[in-house]
Symmetry: C2
Subunit: 376 residues, 2 copies
């Protein structure tokens, strides 16, 4: 274990108490009881003023840092969270929770429907990013935190961070949306829709009632392969694979000739083992519904006193930098303080997981300033 790791961590569960058992969703439907899986790292200070909420992307989970018992691979943002890291656990109390609709501890379509005692499947109501944040807010309340020092995340995590601004601006001192957008463009919707069609076209999907029969493996694998292409850049693929063959010659068959083909198949197959196909449908749909453009980022007649650090990556073509600039534009129109940085990365959208040095530099400095002002 590296010196700057937070070591072994354990997931925790929070289920909404009886008196607030149900959540009224954006669709008008009710969902409950709701359990959120979450992890925390570092110590909450006496003033409860050092809490940082980390929000995850499409396939992420509550395990953002440290090592789970018996696992070798650390959490998905371990390079960013720990002693002396960007989100410094010696200073801050870090919270990360799995979104509702997910499949990694929080209530989602694979959870038991209390009305039927069977997994929800498609009985699970459609959710939005706003619903995710409304559930998260109950966790923050439960932890006794009145105001978060920051909410930070990449991709769909960035959308969640922005939704905190729109839903609970009084509860946050700052926001760090990374590689994200105020709304999905038709191209982003299109990629999500093709992924969903791949899943729903698989006869093993069984109209969502596949629990106990095994996943719609092939469809979900194809969906993930599409996703992976969009997470990388043309340049990063060239660097990683170029046209290298798996064997010396073309096979003149439909097996994987090129390394990139083998890689995609592998990534598709391994995703199927860890992610629920219905969650893929629900969460991508939530991203597609998300739209805080045209002034919807800042709710009317509410006090908005916060700082922004908006980060984009030059080679990210899934969430291009112009979308980050649209966020900045909205903020500036409100005369709110925003720092914008377009990192010269070649990693594409994956850069938010890989460009550690640059993000550490930007975030630790920004957070430090926010924290100093809060403590004064």
């Amino acid at each position: 274990m590296k010196d700057n790791s937070i070591g072994i961590v354990s997931p925790q569960l929070f289920t909404f108490a009886e008196d607030q058992q149900e959540l009224v969703l954006k669709s008008g439907k009710k969902l409950g009881p709701i359990t959120l899986a979450y992890e925390t790292y570092g110590q909450l200070n006496e003033n409860k003023s050092n809490a940082v909420l980390i929000v995850h992307a499409l396939s992420g989970n509550a395990h953002a840092a440290g090592l789970s018992e018996g696992e070798e691979k650390p959490g998905w943002w371990d390079d960013m969270i720990g002693p002396g890291k960007a989100f410094d656990t010696d200073k801050y109390f870090i919270i990360c929770s799995n979104v509702i609709g997910g499949c990694q501890g929080s209530t989602g379509p694979a959870s038991l429907n209390p009305e039927t005692d069977k997994p929800y499947g498609l009985e699970f109501p459609l959710i939005t990013i706003e619903d995710m944040i409304n559930a998260q807010k109950k966790l923050i309340d439960y932890l006794g935190i009145k105001k978060l020092l920051t909410v930070a995340g990449g991709s769909m995590g960035g959308m969640q961070a922005l939704q905190w601004v729109a839903s609970y601006p009084e509860m946050i001192c700052s926001v760090i949306p990374i590689a994200t957008a105020l709304k999905h463009s038709p191209q982003q919707i299109a990629f999500d829709e093709v992924g969903r069609q791949a899943v729903m076209s698989d006869p093993d999907w069984l109209n969502g009632n596949y629990y106990g029969h095994g996943q719609p493996q092939k469809g979900l694998s194809v969906a993930r392969m599409i996703g992976h292409i969009t997470y990388m850049s043309d340049e990063s693929m060239e660097k990683k694979f170029s046209r290298r063959l798996k064997d010396d010659n073309y096979t003149f068959s439909f097996s994987a000739d090129f390394e990139v083909e083998g890689y995609l198949r592998y990534r598709g197959d391994s995703f199927v083992k860890r992610f629920d196909a219905n969650s893929y449908l629900y969460i991508t749909k939530a991203m597609d519904y998300f739209d805080l453009s045209q002034g919807k980022l800042f709710p009317e007649n509410r006090n908005v006193d916060m700082r922004f650090l908006v980060i984009a990556f030059r080679s990210d073509w899934l969430y291009p930098a112009y979308q980050a600039k649209e966020i900045v534009q909205q903020i500036k129109m409100k005369n709110i303080d925003a720092t914008y940085c377009e990192v010269k990365s070649t990693y594409g959208h994956d850069a938010f997981l890989l460009e550690i040095d640059e993000q550490t530099h930007l975030i630790s400095h920004f957070l430090n300033n926010v924290y100093e002002d809060v403590e004064v």
Copy 2:
């Protein structure tokens, strides 16, 4: 019918004569007899010096212009081919043939295997762009044409045009590769591979032996949907669809909420009706194998005396302009004359089918010059 249409056209078939019945493929396997479906427009002049070969893209066919009997929709490049158009049928004799491996008249995996009297299916040998051109060459020989005024095409058509340079440089006066590349990048291979996986994951694919049972509709539809996203640009999708809904509100279901979703589903469904799934596999694989980089464009010790017009489109992210520049670089290194034009289109890769005015201007001028020199 518009005045500048060439009117009703009929497909023709050419089957290799007995003495040259088989084609030895790049893989070493033999294929034969081979039939090519082709169409011609305009008149071959006495010198046989006004012949233009049009080569089609992945899902294209021999019906490039005019109207087929009983059909309302003209050929796929009708705006470019006809009296007074870029490929002026008053001056030139235009030929377009369906590639081998295809499913629109030429021998492909859906054709009868003479050895079994059943459709080939996966018994059809893997083919390359070079094999396609070797078959086309026999058609040009059969038509008695010693030298083509030009070979022109977009996307995979551009690859075929470039392969003519590599295979039969003595037979061409000029080349017009459009929206194409010397080789597929790993990103291009990746998109093709995901499309193939979508097809092959469909249980109705039946390992390629689905003839008589119906197509693997869902898999092929997903493959086509992926393709369509890559053919458009972020900007053209924004213009065409933005986030417009099919109905007034979100459905909070997995039906198509957004117009872009409905459009993709429609395009996927209609493709299934006209294109053979196995042909999709074979032709995308041929594109992935294609590689004329690193000097392979010009064969050694062969006379190369031709002119190039290379066209790219600024918003084409599937075949980005840098790939067209790589073609130009190869040409310049041989001290050969090349005109390069990057058209400021927002249509993405589809621009080669849609940017008619600009291409007409470039091509008619270029072709006119080539023809004048030939006739002198």
